[in-house]
């Protein structure tokens, strides 16, 4: 009897020991995760009238319960989709215990879009928000719980007036053609060519987005040759070209104005009527200025045809890149005839010069005449290679150093 009792006691004891078997220690059983994450909205619009108010709120639920041995920490991360929560772009927050939401204001997101994420203005983007719950300090590893949601963001509209590339387009255009900045003014874009009746568009690409430059008034009509105040936005709007022919389109990004010239109003090259040698008993000579000839010590007393480029914005603006070794004058012709058919050379021609030496980067006046005193005046030139910009309409010159 006693023996049976002892055996029973032993079996009972072994059975109780067996009851302490812990499947979590012996089998890999995945814990039941309880963390959920939600965004109040899947699409948001940043509110420029209420910058400091929360515009984006995420909420989550507690992760699974673990023993008191563990420290449970909630970390949240916000970043643009594609950045993969990189260290230089992520917005990280260590959330307080018992806090299950995180909000962001329009001002915060707007700041990060520009400063941290370097996103192009006015372009919608997507954000990822992630909650990471970690369990540390306990006796064994506990897998973290992680949830991520995505939100689409419409940024605050920014009025911009800048361009990386400008085009002319529309039904009046021969096709989409790039419009270049002029040599004389990097803020001025000009195009010259044929347009047909139809719509003229001026698309402007900036930071990867296509905008359209059009009249601030909203009108599609224009007065040829007259300045038009401009705006630039995503509205596909332009001008109606009523009749075909040569047109000159000049857009100034600095003054935010454009001028569209038709054939009747187009700018023409300078035509000079002068008496050769400045002697009014000589028959008049008529020269249309399409180039300039430099002459003087700066050319070794040889005649140099400059081969000037006429600006697309104004044919009376002429550009020459080069250098002079001394003083020169700029003649409007090398060989020409007067009304009577008498022949002359550059020494007899109308010329531009100044008794004041030209200094780099300084706009200076030119004197233009065929008078002897002018023809015998040679203008000092800055040393080194320069871009010489002659504005014959305003009788000025500026020399910009070329690296």
């Amino acid at each position: 009897m006693k023996k049976n009792l002892l055996i029973t006691l032993l079996v009972l004891s072994i059975g109780m020991v067996a009851c302490t078997y812990d499947p979590y220690k012996d089998d890999m059983v995945l814990p039941t995760e309880t963390l959920t994450l939600a965004s109040q909205n899947s699409d948001i619009v940043l509110d420029e009238d209420n910058m400091t108010a929360p515009v984006l709120t995420f909420t989550w639920t507690p992760a699974r319960e673990v023993s008191d041995d563990y420290i449970v920490s909630y970390t949240t991360k916000l970043d643009v989709v594609g950045n993969n929560f990189g260290s230089t772009t992520v917005i990280r927050n260590d959330e307080e215990d018992g806090v299950y939401s995180r909000s962001f204001t329009s001002e915060q997101i707007n700041n990060w879009a520009g400063d941290r994420w370097n996103l192009p203005v006015n372009k919608p983007f997507s954000l990822e928000f992630r909650v990471i719950v970690e369990f540390t300090g306990g006796p064994e590893f506990q897998a973290p719980e992680v949830r991520t949601v995505t939100v689409n963001v419409t940024p605050i509209h920014v009025d911009i007036f800048a361009t990386d590339k400008m085009y002319i387009d529309g039904t009046s255009s021969p096709g989409k053609e790039e419009v270049s900045a002029t040599l004389e003014n990097s803020n001025q874009y000009a195009w010259y060519g044929d347009l047909t009746p139809g719509t003229l568009l001026i698309p402007s690409e900036y930071e990867g987005i296509t905008y359209y430059i059009h009249a601030a008034s909203g009108s599609a009509s224009f007065e040829p040759g007259k300045p038009i105040d401009l705006v630039m936005d995503e509205t596909k709007q332009g001008w109606t070209i009523p009749s075909g022919g040569k047109h000159r389109v000049v857009v100034n990004m600095e003054t935010k104005q454009a001028v569209i010239y038709d054939e009747a109003t187009d700018l023409q090259p300078l035509t000079v009527d002068f008496y050769p040698n400045g002697i009014d008993t000589n028959p008049l000579a008529h020269v249309t200025v399409v180039d300039l000839w430099a002459y003087g010590g700066g050319t070794g007393w040889g005649v140099r045809k400059l081969g000037c480029t006429q600006s697309a914005a104004d044919p009376q603006v002429m550009i020459y890149e080069g250098s002079f070794s001394g003083s020169v004058k700029f003649c409007i012709a090398q060989s020409f005839t007067d009304e009577a058919g008498n022949s002359y050379n550059q020494n007899n021609a109308f010329c531009y010069t100044s008794s004041t030496a030209l200094v780099s980067n300084k706009l200076q006046e030119l004197t233009g005449s065929a008078e002897r005193t002018v023809r015998n005046t040679y203008m000092g030139m800055p040393s080194g290679k320069h871009l010489f910009i002659f504005d014959l309409r305003n009788s000025t010159i500026i020399a910009k150093p070329v690296q």
Binding site: L9, L10, T52, E95, E107
Partner: protein
């Protein structure tokens, strides 16, 4: 000898043992005589609140400009979409300037004269709740006349590196005249500032170029001379100056730069063989550590990292970044910081600080502070959460009713969630901070305080749990009370001394409320 097994007895014994194992519990040895139920209180850890505790957190630098409104500097933080005050993130202020500014003539001390710029800056910081810290620079090289003229006129030997700037003198620290006047100055300073409620720490070496502890001259005709006497002089001066500060500053922490050529006439090159010894002299005189080269990977190298490891959790480390982002070519650093990206430098400094387990980081004047807030604010917040020390009890077991005159057992478990440590072990603190429990009356006043001498905050590191049991005898009059906890300053009549990182309600005195308790 033969052994016989009594199988019946063995079986019985085995069964009893197995039963005991299966029960898994040993009756507790409870010293308390309370018969009431205990409640386990779990204070919620607070991660983000700036805890204005000593020797932890951000240090706000200021100059002796005389415009105390500098301490009210606010900066627009893009991350927050709002402006914030720098002082709200700082635990103390720091002024580093020449000895001559503090002590322009013999017996004249600018910090005592309300008309001086220095006084206004110090008082301005104190008025804003920022205890002040100082470094006194004596070497004039690259700067100005840092040692007072009267000291030199009295015969202290000095040299001049650049004759174009004769005022930029370099006094010799071994000179007895220099030492005599320097001691007089430090003694006067200690009269007013050996008070931890006013003074956060003293950066107490200040020799060499910019007071950084390197490039210390011992020869007036050749300031960079290294000869047979150099090592002896270095050690003598180190013993003198650290003993001097320790003699006068008994309550305020002292700090010295750890630099591979500390006290040496040069400023660069490999580690000097005696640098370890010189640092240990300072530490043995009670000094804490700092480095002014965090984030400069050509200067803060293996020797500095080893030094930081050697004194980890023995002495706290104060960090200062080395690069001045508006002036230096930080993009040449081996870390590969990008030009025009000061945030890269801030990140490098933060990571080096984490590796060294620093207790304090820097808001230096000018663009340094600006870039912390504008370009790297996430690190400002992260250091608040993770840096220095951040103490809290994650569990406290308390009875909700007690018989007056009975004993209760309070179980508590403490963690330090910061990567640094609470330097309760430095001589100036001398373990003055202790865990204490209190019974608060209806007006939040403690009617009974129980100080637990066994809890030692300086041993709490790396977020690990530190459990304690504490038997106390409740002897207050019957009534309703509130259990509260604090880390008290035993030198201030056991008033709460360190702020705890919890979200629980606290009294205005700093007691953290835990549980209602009825005393019968």
């Amino acid at each position: 000898m033969r052994y016989y097994i009594n199988w019946r007895a063995a079986l019985l014994l085995s069964s009893i043992l197995l039963l005991m194992i299966s029960c898994g519990k040993t009756p507790s040895e409870d010293d308390s005589d309370s018969t009431e139920d205990y409640t386990l209180v779990k204070p919620a850890f607070n991660k983000s609140k700036v805890l204005k505790n000593p020797l932890t957190g951000w240090v706000m630098y200021g100059s002796a400009s005389g415009d105390p409104s500098y301490w009210d500097t606010s900066i627009y933080v893009p991350d927050e979409g709002a402006s914030v005050y720098v002082k709200d993130y700082a635990t103390c202020a720091y002024i580093r300037t020449g000895w001559s500014i503090f002590n322009p003539s013999d017996g004249v001390y600018a910090w005592r004269d309300p008309s001086t710029a220095l006084y206004k800056m110090i008082q301005g910081a104190l008025d804003r709740g920022l205890p002040i810290a100082f470094r006194f620079v004596v070497d004039g090289r690259d700067q100005r006349a840092n040692t007072p003229r009267f000291v030199l006129d009295a015969g202290a030997e000095y040299g001049v590196e650049n004759t174009k700037f004769p005022d930029r003198t370099t006094p010799l620290p071994q000179d007895p005249v220099f030492q005599r006047y320097y001691e007089k100055f430090i003694a006067a300073l200690a009269e007013d500032f050996d008070d931890p409620s006013k003074c956060a720490f003293i950066d107490a070496y200040g020799l060499g170029k910019w007071g950084e502890g390197h490039t210390v001259a011992y020869n007036s005709t050749d300031l960079g001379l290294v000869d047979d006497n150099t090592e002896r002089l270095k050690e003598e001066v180190m013993v003198w100056i650290t003993s001097l500060y320790a003699k006068y500053f008994k309550h305020v922490p002292l700090v010295i730069n750890y630099h591979r050529v500390i006290g040496h006439p040069t400023g660069t090159g490999g580690a000097n063989a005696n640098s370890d010894k010189l640092v240990s002299i300072a530490v043995n005189n009670g000094y804490c550590l700092r480095s002014d080269a965090f984030g400069m990977n050509s200067y803060y190298g293996t020797w500095e990292k080893t030094c930081a490891n050697t004194y980890r959790y023995k002495r706290p480390i104060i960090m200062e970044g080395g690069w001045i982002v508006s002036q230096h070519s930080y993009w040449n650093d081996p870390a590969g910081y990008r030009q025009d990206h000061p945030e890269d430098v801030r990140k490098g400094e933060f990571e080096a600080s984490r590796e060294a387990r620093v207790n304090m980081m820097d808001f230096r004047v000018g663009n340094e502070t600006q870039s912390w807030f504008v370009n790297a604010f996430s690190y400002v917040k992260q250091f608040v959460t993770e840096g220095g020390y951040r103490l809290y009890p994650d569990q406290v077991s308390l009875p909700s009713s007690v018989k007056s005159g009975s004993s209760v057992k309070i179980s508590s478990r403490w963690r330090n969630m910061g990567w640094g440590y609470c330097p309760n072990n430095i001589p100036q603190w001398n373990y003055k901070y202790k865990v204490a429990f209190a019974l608060l009356d209806g007006t939040d006043k403690p009617v009974e305080v129980f100080v637990d001498d066994n809890c030692e905050p300086s041993t709490w590191v790396e977020s690990k749990p530190n459990p304690y049991e504490f038997n106390v005898k409740v002897s207050c009059a019957p009534g309703n009370y509130m259990w509260a906890v604090a880390i008290v300053d035993t030198t201030k009549e056991n008033a709460p001394g360190l702020l705890l990182a919890v979200n629980n309600e606290s009294t205005s005195d700093g007691w953290v409320k835990l549980l209602d308790v009825k005393v019968d």
